[in-house]
Symmetry: C2
Subunit: 422 residues, 2 copies
């Protein structure tokens, strides 16, 4: 498609989304929940068509030689379709994020002031080849009454279109505007550039969900606000006063429960004040569980299976059964390492020393800081916030898990009795 007509097509999506803002903002919670439940039903009813579309995507992806990991992310089966449907139902039963009174107070002059949650506006979500994001992200935006423009990866285009049909069924069943959820119908990569830089008048916020190259492109090109999700270079710091058994359990869980999630630990920092045997046992536990360890000279001296870490290892998100390991001379050195090499996502200190823990929790400037708990709790559902669109590594607007409450803005409602300002 030539650029002019692509721009026109994208602007038409933008204008339709803007037109859906007011009706969506004024829709009832019951209407939006009905749409989500009907979409779940439609997902189940359309399972055959979705799996067929997915086969087409998988065949194309295999022909293009995609990695096994990417093929796994792309692949759907009956269980994954059912999980998507259940995800929509879980979002339907969350409390309505719109209209919540976030704060209220009365002024000495009698003015009653409320800060009330309102939708954020038109959201554009740019993601890679996980077809389930079409359902999850569409549902989270619908729940929060934000019109959304979804742009999925080209490898999953058929799957996303089939899933999108179910979301459209849901909107229709509830009498909501079709443009409440839109899927960019072209796989032209130029569409992403237009969404990022040429739709300021239509798009209120862009949410990238994907790997480093997508996030970097968004950061470079975006001319609209972004809720960014950087990689998670998460640390477990085992303090001198750590309980050895607890440290082992937390370390193994943080690294190995699931290695492909952003909350998985990528580096372990061992305090030099830990007895050498304790340090050795921790590394051995990782190695025995099948995890490769890339360590500094101190760690290499503890176990011959530890290979040498390079400078790049300290800032690598492996998402694999590999961990970087370093001995640090104390809590300030641990904090300095995290500040220098981390991505300000999630870090955990293991210690029985409450004072050291509080020092770490206060001084560590990451979105999520934990004491004596696994980094794999970095997850909206685990926080009790319901489904999330990702873990924001921004400091602006939303930090940490981005659930429906974070997909909101607010306004001030002021009720008076004729007050004028002196």
């Amino acid at each position: 498609m030539n650029t002019d007509s692509l721009v026109a097509q994208m602007h038409a999506l933008g204008a339709a989304a803007v037109a859906a803002r007011a009706p969506l903002a004024q829709s009832t919670s019951a209407q939006r929940n009905t749409a989500l439940q009907a979409a779940a039903t439609a997902l189940r009813a359309r399972q055959g068509a979705i799996l067929e579309a997915n086969s087409t995507d998988l065949a194309g992806a295999r022909a293009r030689g995609l990695s096994a990991a990417l093929l796994d992310r792309l692949a759907l089966d009956a269980g994954r379709v059912e999980a998507m449907a259940r995800g929509l139902e879980e979002i339907a039963v969350l409390p309505d994020p719109v209209g919540r009174v976030l704060a209220e107070w009365t002024r000495p002059n009698g003015l009653r002031i409320q800060r009330v949650a309102v939708p954020l506006g038109v959201v554009a979500i740019i993601y890679e080849s996980r077809p389930n994001v079409t359902a999850d992200a569409g549902a989270l935006c619908l729940k929060s009454a934000n019109p959304v423009i979804l742009r999925g990866g080209s490898e999953s285009a058929h799957s996303s279109a089939a899933i999108y049909a179910a979301l459209s069924d849901g909107l229709r069943a509830a009498g909501l505007p079709a443009a409440a959820i839109q899927l960019v119908p072209t796989t032209d990569r130029a569409a992403v550039g237009i969404l990022l830089a040429d739709m300021r008048e239509f798009v209120d916020v862009v949410v990238p969900r994907g790997g480093r190259s997508l996030v970097e492109r968004v950061q470079l090109e975006a001319r609209v606000p972004v809720i960014g999700h950087l990689e998670g270079i998460c640390h477990v710091y085992v303090h001198a006063a750590a309980d050895p058994g607890m440290a082992r359990d937390i370390l193994i869980n943080s690294k190995l429960r699931r290695t492909g999630v952003c909350g998985a630990a990528e580096t372990v920092l061992l305090d030099a004040a830990l007895p050498p045997a304790a340090r050795r046992d921790l590394l051995a536990a990782l190695l025995d569980a099948g995890c490769a360890v890339r360590g500094d000279a101190d760690c290499q001296a503890l176990d011959p299976r530890v290979t040498a870490a390079t400078e790049a290892d300290w800032s690598t998100e492996y998402l694999d059964t590999i961990i970087a390991a370093r001995v640090v001379p104390g809590i300030d050195a641990a904090l300095a390492h995290i500040s220098r090499y981390g991505s300000a996502h999630t870090e955990s200190i293991v210690t029985a020393d409450t004072k050291a823990a509080e020092y770490f929790l206060s001084h560590c400037d990451s979105a999520i800081v934990l004491h004596n708990a696994s980094t794999q709790f970095a997850d909206g559902a685990e926080f009790g916030m319901g489904a999330e669109i990702g873990i924001s590594t921004e400091r602006f607007h939303a930090r940490g898990p981005v659930g429906v409450e974070q997909l909101a803005s607010y306004k001030y409602v002021v009720r008076g009795k004729g007050q004028v300002r002196p």
Copy 2:
């Protein structure tokens, strides 16, 4: 200065600000308040030097033919210096915005989760020739533990530098890093472009304070998050069920109490269901008070002093004794007019009909919506939020008055007892 050395100079400011982040975040509330009080004392002690610097600026501005309104914004006297000093003292006694527990809950697995306010990061404030912004904005950022880079208008450069010296005295007195508050020492306009687009690695948020041309430049060039302050095209809508006396008082106050503030009304919408005599009286009250009225044909028919409004009048921020006036066929027409021509800043409905009021408050998508109260209450201090850096017209991060609490981000602090994720 050549571009390379200007970039180097600006990057040095940025690096110094980043280095001040951690010490400022860990400083105590008492330390920051001491700095603010010492700065107030220094402002009073330096009054002579400040007024002398201001004379230099005023002479330069007169020579360049600046308007009387701009000269008035630029001019300082003993009273204005004292007001700045008192402003700092008022900020010193506000509650500490950092470290507040915004929410806390315990999960079924025993994890205790807190959402805790933390500083937002390095703030860059770009403003025009109001020297008092140097003191106000510097103080608000210091209170909220954010390093700030101030870039004032070139016309006020000498005044800002003299005021800045007092802020530096305050930082020194409290043992805080000098780079907690920095003033861009060059009046080169290219410095603004560098702040907006070439300091991503140093600056977390840009706050423009100024007229439309500055805001437009920022929106066009900024590659970092912005807390924008658009103009205030504020409306008073006099509903059919309005009390005539209350409507007159609110209208006169909204327009004329101070015409130069962003919360001043710029358009009045009169409901067609109001008796013609009531509409005539409202326009007469404005005209008799010395306000020019630019109206549609209906308004012109009510009073011969009303001149014809053009399309441009509906979206003009006069900041003067001029108001646009229109008769609308009902509440939905009023909302449609506001949505089309307004800036989503502040609007007021005057009515004795609670149902109509609630409909307006719910459907009007502006940062501040009022019922039976003057639009001139659009002000952080009037809201009880203390001093503010402006009224944000963004939907993202902060909307409405931006006080110290809005200059914050948050993080999640999670305390466990060895929990791992199943």
